[in-house]
Amino acid sequence: MTQATLRDQAATFGLSTEEFDILVERIGREPNALEAAIVGAMWSEHCGYKNSRPLFKVFPTEGPQVLQGPGENAGVIDIGEGYGVAFKMESHNHPSAVEPVQGAATGVGGILRDIFAMGARPFAVLDSLRFGDPESPRTRFLLNGVVDGISHYGNAIGVPTVGGETIFHPSYQENPLVNVMALGLLRHEDLAKGTMGEVGNQIIYVGSKTGRDGLGGAVFSSADLSAASQADRPAVQVGDPFMEKLLLEATLEAIQAGLVAGVQDMGAAGLVSSTCEMAYRAGLGISMNLNDVPTRETGMVPMELCLSESQERMILVPVPGKEQELYDLLAKWELDVVNIGQVEDHQNYRLIWDGEVVCDLPVDLLNEAPKYTREGVENPDIIAKREMDLSGIQMPNDLGAVLTDLLSHPTIASKKPIFERYDHQVMTNTVVVPGAADAAVMRVRGTSIGVAATSDCNPRFVYLNPYTGAAAAVAEAARNLACVGATPLAITDNLNFGNPHDLGVYYQLQQAVQGIADACRALNTPVTGGNVSLYNQYVEGDQKVAIHPTPTIGMVGVLPDVTKHVGQQVPVGPHSLYLLGE
């Protein structure tokens, strides 16, 4: 490919021609194709948050309870007695739409790696799901597959799935939402960071070998979901909870033994994004030899090695002088361990292939995607719906029938057929199980502390009024925690929206973020992290239709005395009922 056509083909790397020009200007030369692809991946919405990050400035992120705010693999809060909880939520919407079982399974795997990369032992998972028409065969196929995938992965790795939500609405018919939240427990002193540390440190690759799976997934999950994703079919990543369990035990053991200076999982945009981010946090350059990356298939080329999203892989940076100890520990768990590079005294991201430098780009450039802000405009159709005059609607005669209709709607009906397929008790800490209340409660063994968690969002409300709807999601989460007896501490969010270039969608995103921020300020629950999933839309006729805006809120709270938890069943005996609030 000549340089002239590289610019023409910028879109295939996920870059606009304007972005390509910015790249050329900033490095003072034409990039090669590998460099363009790496920049494309790092500047994608998934890694670079180019459309969303500017909005996040309004989030409150601090508080005495916050041990780690946004910017790391997961946020961490203090729950007392020297313990912290790491927690985060992440989406796997587009992979689940293509292959629900593996899409959802790898979603669980990815979020769990984010948690144990913080040095925390995962101890609970919640899944927040959105599907289309419950009667349609496609919904049944997706729902069954997603639940299979989550249970397959979570049950096998031995982390209980303790709660979630399942909501049906036609706007998700083609584009389901699969948001998974995980919580992990750690001692304060074991808190690990995703950094390269200092000059001279080794960069260690550990876990599964690299294959061609999920290739370009970072770009894929930020692009429209359309007929093209049929052609993307080989881009399916297969999860292996058994391998992840080994990786989890080995990583935690290494962190607790003080052998690890930095750690991060390889998620979206694989090897590149994890090592780029770690270098950025350290403010240093690195150099890696791609020939040393363990491969599962023959003939893999640098582009594939860099961007593959093969699952169950991590980057570890050993504490200097403890390299051998770390190798030995990892070998006991039968994991592939390879030194693929080192931290160097410059500011560049350098990759070597067959002895040649094939990528040499400033670390800052990769991690500082161009940011876009727009002025959102509310869609007039939605204004009309919100302001519709309801006074003309007749009160139904038979309210009893309305009640039974409501109760039998799949969104409201019992979710037992779902949560019974999840092991919600493994680890023997689950005090309040799914179905017993609107939030789950886990005890912290050896203490009197309980940790409560919930995930919430009513997308119809957000659709009609994104500011109030998103604020209401935070408030609902806080009420759910209060109802089990917990004090809310902090939130993570998962912003599932349509195409941000659509000004109506951008408006929803802007308003929802402000709503979350204001509610979190009022409730003193800072935002410790989150995830953004844009381009959730589908083609209807010749139109692209966005899903209902869905800012899922994951909230964590604490009960100093877990024995004081409350459930929602009406106890036997004569009791009075009170209504609180307006």
Binding site: V98, E297, E334
Partner: protein
């Protein structure tokens, strides 16, 4: 109407990770079978069909490719033969 026995073999595409095959291979090597490699675990489905040969063959192809296997991840082969009466 004639009856046919069909056999369908479903395997993961070569580029797709086969965690099961990998685990079995490692386990075999721990059991001392270190000359074993390339273990891949797939599905083997047997079924019967009634109908005319041509129809049955077309139907089997369709079922094998669209129901019994997942074209995103799997390859599929099949055989059909008339059942002994």
């Amino acid at each position: 109407m004639p009856q046919y026995n069909a056999k369908v073999y479903v395997t993961l595409k070569p580029s797709i990770l086969d965690p099961q095959g990998r685990t079995v291979e490692r386990a075999l090597s721990h059991l001392g079978q270190s000359n074993v490699s390339g273990v891949r675990v797939g599905k083997y489905i047997e079924l019967q069909l009634t109908g005319e040969r041509g129809d049955v063959e077309a139907q089997l192809k369709d079922m094998a490719e669209n129901v019994l296997s997942n074209p995103i991840m799997e390859d599929v082969k099949w055989e059909v033969e008339e059942a002994a009466q």
